[in-house]
Symmetry: D2
Subunit: 308 residues, 4 copies
């Protein structure tokens, strides 16, 4: 059935969703994101058989933002025992319309899952404890996974985010007050914002995240990134918590594990078959790419793929 | 690979999880549930090829409780347009440790999803509006789906639940105050508690819910129960919201859409392959069958099935 | 200094605040209240020396609404031991912008104080337990205190409130779920709404509430209404919790214990000196009479009275 | 009636409440407070006529902690217009059982009142903006008011508090995220903790706070500290918000404006008559001195003083 999949299909899908541009809103909480044109649109697919398809601005790099939360969790899974991770961060959806301190306070500083800001900050705190150079290490990892030695952080975005980091600082300090934060808050925030400021294209993202569709393995690397079971676990976490407060809607409409970023990118996984990356900067009210979600919904229907 | 599936495998799994009995807690908020022996254990599987496997007390009927929420949603999907349903109830996980009014108040009386009490009450309110005899109609439906004309409500359980219904009454009245409840509160509560008090066995449940694995169709009925897309949608809702505040953990460990009830039953779906029903009355802290979840986790590993 | 107090002063004050009419909003959640003209304005003062002053529509009756919560607490204080009351309702301000279930749920069904709806419902529940005819008994009490045998409930208002009682029903049921509500919900709601629907004039209110300025005694009755200490306690509760979420502002500006109702009435107490009743139907954002509060603020300045 | 007031009365009261020692709990969130013996007990009264009475350890200095919040508000009132203060901090009780971020987030970073941590931090932020040396200035002020040139901060307590300041840092950062915090978080926290670490005795506190009973004036200073109206306003704020989540209970039992600190001190005001300071380190569940509150309750009864 993946025979249906080709560049023309992807082009058709982009044509179909392009009219949605104008109905969403580009993230504007930092200037560096606000100035991205809202009409960027790209998609790329990598299959476990090594095929690559793409359409639109699939080769243009953008700020991956919260998609990086999957990468930091992946790194942590390789450096911590399973129970060490999950005693500090939960596995449940947050059920909150925005990234709130309310729940974090009621639940004694243990974030609900690794894909909300609080949870990703705990994961970054864990990486800071065990890695000698967490920013550099992340770069090496993604350069290897994407086979792109020039992948880099957008220093301007990282700086801009850090300058608007009051809420994330509040989150980190609140977790520290509950004993769930080990390292210097500013250092960890700096790492966190650099990860968010990674610039990657749809093609690079699809290639990087193929391991989640391929039992933990990249096609071009001998060593598995993580185990097959860990890959399934990350996919499970993405289904229940990967799309902010729109995870239920995304599962209902698209039917794939996915993770979005406020830069307008989404990665989605068809287990055992393919990874998909899509990019369109305008966001819906849940903070997920509006046209990007629509493109994934149509793609799922056209190739008859859903985990359900 | 379903060749691996046989009665002996199911027996082995029950043997493996039986030592967990004693670590959970039988629901005791109503006397009729509290008196069920905690060591009941049964499992049944129905495949889309018509095979049936079972082990333990798979033929003994128990109170299906919240598993009925999937049935009432299924009924509503056949009687309402899609948008009519989702304007009154959401599709997102609640992220709440218990069945709370807090979120319902903050979100103006619109329940987060159809599988929390508030959401199921809205669905029952919708059924009351469009069905002439909602209690009788549900009985007819499950008798047909399970091919068991003697399926019935446990009147004693329904009565006992109604007598302890203060919190559900509060939920219904709160929704009424926001204009999201049309019918008489007591009438709808009566329907709701009768649905919860349906008595079914694992074998009957697995057979009844096979339509969710089989694109909306029961094997023995000409008419589809719902469309293939609706079946996928229900599976998606079960993954994100089917296990109370343990949906993330269940997806992480078991990797299947599932719905539990405080009677100790769980149904789980392997799309395109099989439906599974398991029963063990002792619950974990999230309110899901403790040994039942463990049995599903082992089964998933043994037959190599996961949606991720 | 009360020599300053005379009808002309009260007239002057009304003249001064009349321009505020138009800046507030008449309560409109039930039709019977919404139709009251917003430009009604009256004030009355009773001193412990037996003097009575008034201005404006001081003799016109209106719906006293939540002012009745002080009367029901007073009745309960005469029929219950102190500890019996305060184990079921607290003495602390609610700190909530509106009448919320959120706090009631977090605090296990014990309302914060007797002057929020939840607390007044618990008090009415207590009265229902110990009085044979709570509605009739309240009438007798206020008729005696005000020396007005024709005081009555506005049946139309009571009926209209009952028809819009979904939120109060939710509150009562939530308390019942926590074991803090003994009697039939509908019966108690009926009592509660009748108390709210009492019609009294400023003159009648000032006279009725003089006991709070006079160590628990009405001037014309031999028996004290309550003890001097109980009168001080009620005044203390009014200062911290008598003005919905505007108690701090009222203490800051007016400096007297007070209790307001959404009908636009406010009673205020100068301990050892006088009781004051004011009426103007338009409310501020906290639900207190806007011009009424201003009139009390000016009166406090003009006669140099404040408890601070 | 203040003729009743003498040293012997105060001795009697201390004798009466001393048996309560052992029923409360010394604050232990920082080591420097935890090591204070729980059986310290002292009381001092200053009247507007210049009389001074005391008993017990009335001359021993202790950490005034949150009592300093009244001093910082007093300073701010002299350097800001009224509206400038109240647009950044509210006047309403918080209704929270502990010092929570929940409400602060729901109310967009505007603290409920100046006597909770968040509110006091905003006030300190305001002082940092307008004073060149806020720590030094506060010392000068209290030295002048108490006529004690050797009053000083306990550097060890200030340092210890700063080292345990994660929650207060979270609060400050959350307010910064809402634009309600102007200065460097660490600088303001340092000021705040120094104010809390002021060491004063009951005699010094009673003398310092007499201006609140004396229309804004200290007896020994020509210049008023604040206006008579401002003094009334502070008293009003203390009644509704001065005792953490025990303000209602304190008003009900004691009937005076008061402000407590976790060091075990309480100041209370009888307007136009006297200021009272009491000290006993063991706290009740609301964080107020247990025996200290009891002493004030008895004193109020014995001298027949209550604002109600």
């Amino acid at each position: 059935m993946p025979g249906l999949l080709n560049n023309q299909l992807l082009e058709d899908i982009l044509t179909q969703v392009r009219p949605l541009i104008g109905r969403g809103k580009v993230a504007d909480y930092i200037p560096a994101l606000a100035e991205i044109p809202g009409n960027k649109l790209g998609i790329a697919v990598c299959t476990v058989d090594g095929e690559v398809f793409s359409a639109g601005e699939a080769a243009e790099r953008f700020s991956i933002q919260s998609i990086s939360k999957v990468l930091s969790l992946t790194l942590a899974m390789g450096r911590y025992e399973e129970h060490e991770i999950w005693q500090r961060v939960g596995k449940e959806p947050s059920g909150q319309p925005f990234n709130s301190l309310l729940q974090l306070e009621l639940e004694q500083g243990k974030p609900r899952n690794p894909f909300i800001n609080a949870g990703a900050l705990v994961v970054c705190d864990m990486l800071q404890t065990r890695l000698s150079a967490p920013k550099q290490r992340m770069l090496e990892v993604v350069r290897t996974m994407a086979e792109q030695p020039d992948l880099a952080y957008d220093a301007r975005v990282a700086k801009s985010e850090f300058e608007h980091s009051a809420r994330n600082a509040a989150i980190a300090w609140l977790m520290k007050s509950f004993g769930n934060f080990e390292n210097d808050v500013i250092t960890v925030l700096q790492n966190y914002f650099h990860y968010c400021a990674l610039k990657m294209s749809c093609l690079e993202l699809a290639k990087t995240f193929l391991f989640l569709a391929n039992e933990g393995r990249a096609l071009h690397l001998d060593e598995p990134i993580i185990t097959a079971q860990q890959a399934r676990q990350i996919n499970a976490l993405m289904v229940t918590s990967g799309m902010y407060d729109g995870a239920g809607e995304f599962a209902y409409r698209v039917g794939m594990p996915g993770k979005s970023g406020v830069g307008g990118g989404i990665i989605a996984i068809v287990p055992h078959e393919m990874s998909i990356a899509v990019w369109c900067p305008e966001l819906d009210t849940s903070g997920n790419s509006l046209a990007g979600t629509a493109a994934l919904e149509i793609l799922a229907q056209r190739i008859g793929r859903s985990i359900f």
